[in-house]
Symmetry: C2
Subunit: 211 residues, 2 copies
DNA sequence: ATTGACAATTTCGTATACGATTTGCAAGGA
DNA sequence: TCCTTGCAAATCGTATACGAAATTGTCAAT
């Protein structure tokens, strides 16, 4: 698929940016990164280009790359996009859901409830939302949703561990799944919309407090 | 912003793929393109990488790039994404619309009606849809919508010139705008959804016929 | 004639090298 | 003191060069 030398660099930088190790605005020197990974600048450039597409760095001609983490406004905007995409995908998915889908989601929610590792919550949350949309069969919308989740990951992770707890999301997840199982599309979609909107409000509050 | 040498190559190849000059599956040789544009392979690689992100070419390690135009299914999926994003953006936009927005959109529709150049229809259509979503203030969702429109451009352009004509889209555009002006969010969103869904059905029919 | 292996050629990926642009700093003038 | 001006160092973008992988063509063996 992609060039092998650029892959680990891309992954590593992405991880460092998303986890906050690299602060916003920090400049990324091609030569330095190249030396650090023991390669030349060319695969580094490739990695930086991909990061620019992800909106994680800004490239300026002859000036280099700088970390460009999302602003408060942009995070809320990304959540709006999630509302749009996930609700529509869920609407498309519900008619295609079969017994094993419901079983798998129930199983996941059970594991979710049992799991005490806060670090696991985030990935389980992502998996549940992914499973909700998967039966839509629209591979492109799903990959966009996954991308959004990855970008939002860091903020939501902090949020989950800090403030929210597990009860509310779990209850809402259960309600969404119930409506899906009843085939009640409009209730399920509305529940999902409220679920993400609540998250949106919590993120807004968190960011306001953290500012 | 981006590297200057890669830009024209990217634009040219993108145009050639979207306009159908390069057939699906056709291989793109780095050296050949480089010689053609009078540059080395490195900016060519950069252009190809960007095209891969756009899903317009497929890159395989040590095998090179091949044109990868969207399949019928994928076009319909992209239209589904447009439904999700545009409807949500419109919902966010309506409360923010002011007099000048309505005036601008009316003007555009007037020009649209007067315009006899089929080649202009596509770009006017895009502009109208863009204006509908713009007051949402969500820059990211708008840029995603614009990207989708660009990708779908070729197919919708053919469709407009071949089959559809101007009456139906114009009528629907007018109805959407009326509902916006009344501030009737749910009617406007539903009208927009139906508008895109009709396009979706027409694309499906067109592709079935063309196959 | 078909298949298999091996060699030659093509094509890709990346390191190195070099010109172009920007940046940082220091010296000079207002 | 503060602002320009010019030079040096750092950094970027791309051409060239070379090793690695894949494709193609050839030839012998079945």
């Amino acid at each position: 698929m992609s060039s092998s030398a650029a892959d680990p660099i891309y992954e590593d930088l992405k991880c460092q940016i998303l986890s906050g190790k690299l602060t916003s605005g920090q400049r990324l020197r091609q030569d330095q990164i190249a030396k650090q990974f023991g390669v030349s600048k060319i695969p580094v450039r490739e990695a930086l280009n991909r990061l620019e597409v992800d909106n994680l760095v800004v490239l300026e001609r002859n000036k280099g790359a700088a970390v460009r983490r999302y602003s408060e406004t942009e995070i809320l905007q990304l959540l709006d996009i999630r509302i749009a995409l996930e609700c529509h995908a869920l609407e498309l998915a519900i008619p295609n859901m079969i017994g094993s889908d419901f079983r798998d989601m129930r199983d996941l929610l059970d594991d979710y409830a049992k799991c005490s590792e806060i670090s696991e919550w985030s990935s389980m949350n992502r998996r549940f939302h992914h499973m909700l949309c998967e039966p839509s069969g629209n591979a492109q919308i799903i990959s966009m949703i996954d991308d959004l989740q990855a970008k939002l990951g860091q903020y939501l992770r902090v949020l989950l561990s800090q403030a929210v707890g597990l009860e509310r999301p779990m209850r809402e997840h259960g309600a969404i799944l119930d409506a899906c199982e009843r085939g009640d599309s409009s209730v399920a979609v509305e529940a999902l919309r409220n679920h993400i909107e609540t998250t949106q409000k919590e993120v807004a509050a968190f960011l306001r407090r953290a500012e």
